[in-house]
C-alpha cells in the first residue's frame, strides 16, 4: 500500500511551486492548516493564488502568507474582517488582487470541480455587483447566475485524524471547507492532529475517503492562531 505519510513538513509541501493555486481550509481560525502554511512560507514561494474563506487573522496562518509577500491573488468570501489588517494594507497598496465570491458559491464552485461537473446555476448574487460579468439564465421563470467550477493545483487542509489510507475525520467547526477542498484539487495535502492504524476509524464515520488525499503530515494538537514565525 502506498505510503501517504510525509515525515517532514518540507516533504508535505515541497512540491508547491511559484504561481500555484492553493485551496486553503478554515473558517475564521478553526480548520486553518497553520503548520502547512508555515511550511509554504518557509519555502518562500511567490505569486500564489489563494482560495480561502477569510483573509487571515492577525499575523499567523493566511495572514503570514500574505504578509511575507507570497500571495498575488486572493479569492475569498470575507476579506474585510477587522482582524484581516495585514491583507487590507497590502490590498490598499495595490500588491494583491482580490476576487470576492459569496461563501456558498465558493463552496459550491469547488464541489462542482470535485464532482466533475461543468458549472451550476445559483440564485445567489442575482442582480448584485457580484454577478457582474457572469452569465445569467432564467429557468422556469427564476433567474440564476451561471458559476464555473473552481479547482486548485493543491489543497492545504486540516483534519483531525487519518488512517494510513488517508481516510479523514474532522473536529467540530474545524471541518468547514476542508472536505470540499480535498476533492477539488490535483494534489491534496492534509495536516492532522493524529494518525491511527488501519481499521481504527469506523468506515461509517469517515468524512473524506482517502481517495482524495495524496499526503498527510502529523502535527499533534496545537493552540490555533498563535504566531509562530521568527
Amino acid at each position: 500500500m502506498k505510503n501517504k505519510k510525509s515525515a517532514t513538513l518540507e516533504q508535505a509541501v515541497g512540491r508547491i511551486q511559484d504561481g500555484a493555486t492553493l485551496l486553503v481550509g478554515g473558517f475564521g481560525q478553526p480548520g486553518v492548516p497553520e503548520i502547512l502554511i508555515d511550511g509554504v512560507c518557509d519555502l518562500r514561494r511567490r505569486d500564489l493564488t489563494i482560495v480561502t474563506n477569510n483573509a487571515g487573522t492577525g499575523h499567523s496562518g493566511i495572514a503570514r502568507l500574505i504578509e511575507e509577500g507570497c500571495v498575488s491573488r486572493l479569492i475569498c468570501s470575507f476579506p474585510w474582517a477587522k482582524e484581516s489588517f495585514v491583507f487590507k494594507e497590502l490590498y490598499d497598496a495595490g500588491k494583491i488582487e482580490l476576487e470576492i465570491v459569496p461563501q456558498g458559491t465558493l463552496a459550491e464552485r469547488m464541489r462542482t470541480a470535485g464532482a466533475g461537473l461543468g458549472g451550476f446555476l445559483t440564485p445567489t448574487g442575482v442582480g448584485t455587483d457580484l454577478a457582474d460579468g457572469k452569465k445569467t439564465m432564467t429557468v422556469d421563470g427564476k433567474d440564476y447566475v451561471l458559476e464555473k467550477p473552481l479547482r486548485g493545483d493543491f489543497a492545504l487542509i486540516k483534519a483531525y485524524q487519518t488512517d494510513p489510507r488517508g481516510n479523514l475525520i474532522y473536529r467540530k467547526t474545524a471541518r468547514n471547507f476542508n472536505p470540499i477542498m480535498a476533492m477539488a484539487s490535483d494534489f491534496t495535502i492534509v495536516e492532522v492532529q493524529e494518525d491511527v492504524p488501519i481499521d481504527a476509524l469506523d468506515p461509517e464515520i469517515i468524512v473524506t475517503p482517502g481517495v482524495f488525499v495524496d499526503t498527510y503530515y502529523v502535527t499533534g494538537w496545537y493552540e490555533i492562531g498563535k504566531e509562530r514565525n521568527a
Binding site: 488512517d163 494510513p164 481517495v211
Partner: protein, 224 residues
C-alpha cells in the same frame, strides 16, 4: 471449429485484465465479467474497488455466516469491505465517479468503435434501457477498459468502425479485452497487442470490423 477451442474463458479474460490493474489504483467494475477481476489481482498489489452504490473498498464475497444484508456491490451481490474502506452516500459516490477519481473503469460492452465510443447500456431492439451509473462512470473515469466477447452471439463483430448501437459515452475506451485478443484504442487506430494462444492475428482481424495494426503481436499470458 479450431477458433472455438482457442477462445479464452471469462475467468481467463478477467485474469488478463487484472494484470493491467496498477498498484494504487481506484477501480470501478461494471456488472458481469468485470466483477471476476478482483480474485486475480496479485496479492502484493494494492488496488481498491469502488462500487457505485457508496462503497469504497469492496472486498470478496462474505464467508459462511458473515453475510450482511446491507452490504452489497453495484451488481447487487453480497460483499465485504476491505481494511481502510469507507461508506459514502450517492452524491459523493458519483462525485468520485464523475470527478476523475477513478483511475480505471472496466466495463462490459455491446460495441466499441474505433474512435473509442462505448455502447453498453441499451440494445437497439430493447424497449427501454437501464443506464444505472454507466454513463457517469464512463464519462468521468480517467481510463475506460472494455471487457467483452469478441463477437456477438450471432457472430457479428463488436469492435466496429462506427457505432450503430445507442451510445453510453463518446470516445472513452482505450483498451479492449476479449476472449480472442487484447487491443489498444489509439488516435491512430486500433493496435492488436496480443492474441489468445492458438489464434492468429488474421483470425482476429476476420471478426473485427476495423483495421488492426499487427506490427507487434504477442500472446496472451493465460493465468492457470
Amino acid at each position: 471449429m479450431s477458433e472455438q477451442t482457442n477462445l479464452l474463458t471469462r475467468q481467463q479474460i478477467a485474469a488478463r485484465a487484472a494484470q493491467d490493474m496498477e498498484d494504487g489504483w481506484l477501480v470501478n467494475l461494471g456488472i458481469g465479467m468485470p466483477t471476476m477481476i478482483p480474485a486475480f489481482i496479485p496479492k502484493d498489489r494494492d488496488v481498491m474497488f469502488h462500487s457505485e452504490n457508496g462503497l469504497i473498498g469492496m472486498g470478496p464475497p462474505p464467508a459462511e455466516g458473515e453475510a450482511d444484508q446491507d452490504l452489497i456491490s453495484a451488481g447487487k451481490e453480497l460483499v465485504t469491505m476491505i481494511s481502510g474502506g469507507s461508506y459514502v452516500h450517492h452524491t459523493d459516490s458519483f462525485a468520485i465517479a464523475r470527478g476523475g477519481r477513478l483511475d480505471c473503469a472496466v466495463l462490459g460492452a455491446f460495441q466499441v468503435a474505433v474512435n473509442g465510443d462505448l455502447c453498453n447500456w441499451r440494445l437497439p431492439n430493447q424497449t427501454s434501457g437501464s443506464v444505472g451509473g454507466a454513463m457517469d462512470i464512463a464519462a468521468g473515469s480517467k481510463r475506460v477498459f472494455a471487457m467483452m466477447s469478441h463477437t456477438a452471439r450471432d457472430g457479428a463483430a463488436k469492435i466496429v468502425a462506427e457505432r450503430t448501437y445507442p451510445l453510453t459515452a463518446m470516445q472513452v475506451v482505450t483498451k479492449i479485452y476479449t476472449d480472442m485478443a487484447v487491443i489498444s484504442v489509439t488516435p491512430d487506430g486500433l493496435i492488436l497487442n496480443e492474441v489468445a494462444p492458438g489464434l492468429t492475428a488474421d483470425e482476429v482481424q476476420a471478426v473485427t470490423d476495423a483495421p488492426l495494426n499487427m506490427d507487434d503481436v504477442g500472446t496472451i499470458n493465460v493465468a492457470a
